[in-house]
Amino acid sequence: MTALLPRRVRGLVSLAEALLTPHGADRYLELVDPMLVRREIRGRVTAVRHQTPDTVTFTVRPSRAWQGFRAGQYVRMQVEIDGVRRTRCYSPCGAQGSDDLEFTVKADPNGLVSRHLQDTAVGAVVGLSPADGEFTLPSPRPDRIVLMSGGSGITPVLAMARTLVAEGHPGEIVFLHYSNTPADALYRAELAELAARHPGFRVVNAHTHARRGGDLHGLFSVAHLEKAAPWFREAETFLCGPAPLMAAARELFENEGLSAQLHTEEFAAAPLAFDTAAAEGRVRFARSGRECDNSGKPLLEQAEDAGLTPEHGCRMGICFSCTQLKTAGRVRNARTGEVSGEENEEIQLCVSVPVGDVEIDA
């Protein structure tokens, strides 16, 4: 961003940084107003509403370091809960290019952050990361598009729908959304309104736990898809939802030989399985000087067991908050099964399991 400023301004900025060393300008600016920071991205909540009893939808105005997002991407949001900063990934669900970010978060009964966010108030400030993620619309846009989501997985897909409508997409779009009952359906009015506004856009409401009040009922099936978008074989499909829906869709598309046309966003990863019996070797955390026997668990947990508190967020390999430098040894990526032995390589502690001796610069 600094590179875009005129030279004189840049000179002033670096003079200010030199004067404010070692803490830097942001550490002073944020005391005046947390939104004044230059390097970090923050967002101030400007509106809050509750579409259903267990969700919250809020609008966030990002600070000036925000560089926008592409529909389908996610950001890491940070909130402080009882003094501890927690990081979670959420997809903004507004159209690409909008100034404000909209988020919808469903309360998970065991979810610390998602429950905390239910009480979000106007004026609250959250931390944000730049947008990230490969789950985006290709350009040029495909002619026919199926957007499919389940529950709060609607958010990245809704961003795509709003973007396509805003762009005046000339082709056909079907939005197939699964919710338990009509009362749980998120963005029902907004979707209906989008459909009314845009001729090529159709919304199909599917309810898994209700027999009435929607277009389709029961679990996802090929029959559902045939009814919603009989041309789905010639379309690109974008899907985000709970694990069972994702698994069923993947299987269907594979059977049809259409896997390449299905694009998915994992929003709740399946629990990882680790073989703790066959572990061997020692794990060394070089910076803190701690060392322990490899227990076969992910390095993040091993580090925590050793009394360290490495940074982390999702703990399932999505957010990269826990990335640290591995200075020696080999690790297996528990999600991909890939074994890597490159030296001085950045690895994600939460999904990396040591294979023998490992040294981490933590």
Binding site: L19, T21, R27, G83, R85
Partner: protein
């Protein structure tokens, strides 16, 4: 003299360790928003004092403004150094996962780079507290602070070196990380010092640039006055930091240890050594804050990674535990502790054993038995 290990029976040491572990756990479980609010308040105060101090020096041609500016800037530097920098860099707020409060990322307003200091202080000093020849804080490689350090005519200059160290303390801390005395002894190579030195040059030039070049230049014709003001603030902070820190381990009655008696220590024995090797300073709440709560050196050495604002809260309990086990709990007002340190510095300039004050008093031995 009672050796470190014969103070308590093995069973007692173990029980004693368990009690301290339990005390620690209780505080860890209680950490939360209040602790973060506290340190943020201190940081806010520090920034406000700094901005005020720098601002007042722009009116430095008025003597009251100059004086007030130096006072505000000195206070800012003291807070940044003691209650914020030292404590944050100990990892006291790492549990918050807030990057600005992360021990790995914090950088303080002194010429010693954080990364060098974390090694020499957090690791070396806090692991090998008061073990002669291992804890490099014993005498900082310059002074004779313990009778177990072999006398040499060089040490006749002890009081002079100590005075210089007090005046130039931040530079002493900076050079301390180079471990020059170990290089001289051949235990460390210059090559190992290259990254340490590189960090020093970078950090020191920024600090010098800010305090002695940029801010003075910005005040135009007042440049000399501003430079003098900044130098004074650094001097005040040096003297203050030196005083507080030397009172932490060097008053009479504080013990030192040999490598042999500290081999294969258990957790309980490590706690024991921290208590015997540290000394507190009594004072009011403001004094504790300005000392970075190192006035609770004993509590700090037991639990270096607990937020410092917790030390005064647990001091009573720690003292009570010490009393129950017949252990000393060295504390006293600043003037008394400083005087005790000064006497030690002077006495150890000369060869021979120090006076009776530094040996274990018989009454304490009796209580421990």
């Amino acid at each position: 003299m009672t050796g470190l290990q014969d103070r308590l029976t093995p069973a007692q040491v173990e029980e004693f360790g368990r009690e301290l572990d339990a005390l620690r756990q209780r505080i860890v479980d209680d950490l939360g928003e209040e602790d973060v609010e506290y340190i943020r308040k201190i940081i806010k105060t520090q920034r406000a004092l700094e901005v005020t101090g720098r601002g007042l020096l722009f009116a430095g041609f008025l003597p009251p403004a100059w004086l007030a500016g130096v006072a505000a800037l000195s206070a800012a530097k003291i807070l940044d150094n003691m209650e914020i920098g030292h404590n944050v860099m100990h990892g006291q707020y790492d549990w918050t996962r807030i990057p600005e409060l992360s021990s790995q990322r914090f950088e303080w307003d002194t010429v010693a780079p954080a990364e060098n200091w974390r090694h020499s202080h957090n690791y070396i000093h806090h692991t090998y507290t008061n073990i002669v020849d291992k804890d490099r804080d014993v005498g900082y490689g310059i002074l004779r602070m313990d009778p177990a350090q072999k006398w040499h005519p060089y040490y006749l200059g002890n009081p002079v070196y100590a005075t210089l160290l007090a005046l130039l303390f931040q530079w002493g801390v900076m050079l301390h990380d180079l471990e020059v005395e170990r290089v001289v002894k051949g235990e460390r190579t210059w090559a190992e010092n290259v990254p340490v030195l590189r960090r020093i040059v970078r950090k020191a030039s920024r600090q010098i640039g800010k305090d002695y070049v940029l801010f003075p230049l910005l005040t135009g014709p007042l440049a000399p006055l501003t430079l003098l003001g900044n130098a004074s603030a650094n001097l005040v902070r040096n003297l203050w930091a030196f005083s507080i820190i030397f009172c932490g381990h060097f008053p009479a009655d504080v013990e030192s240890f040999t490598e042999e008696e500290t081999e294969n220590e258990t957790r309980g024995q490590w706690y024991l050594r921290q208590i015997l090797g540290s000394a507190n300073i009594t004072g009011g709440p403001l004094f504790h804050i300005l000392s970075g709560n190192l006035s609770h050196q004993i509590e700090h050495h037991l639990f270096p990674d607990l937020p410092a604002r917790r030390y005064p809260q647990i001091a009573g309990e720690v003292r009570e535990i010490c009393e129950r086990y017949g252990l000393p709990y060295n504390t006293g007002p600043l003037y008394k502790q400083l005087w005790s340190v000064a006497k030690k510095i002077a006495r150890l300039a000369l060869p021979g054993k120090p006076g009776p004050a530094a040996t274990v008093d018989p009454e304490r031995q009796l209580r421990a038995a």
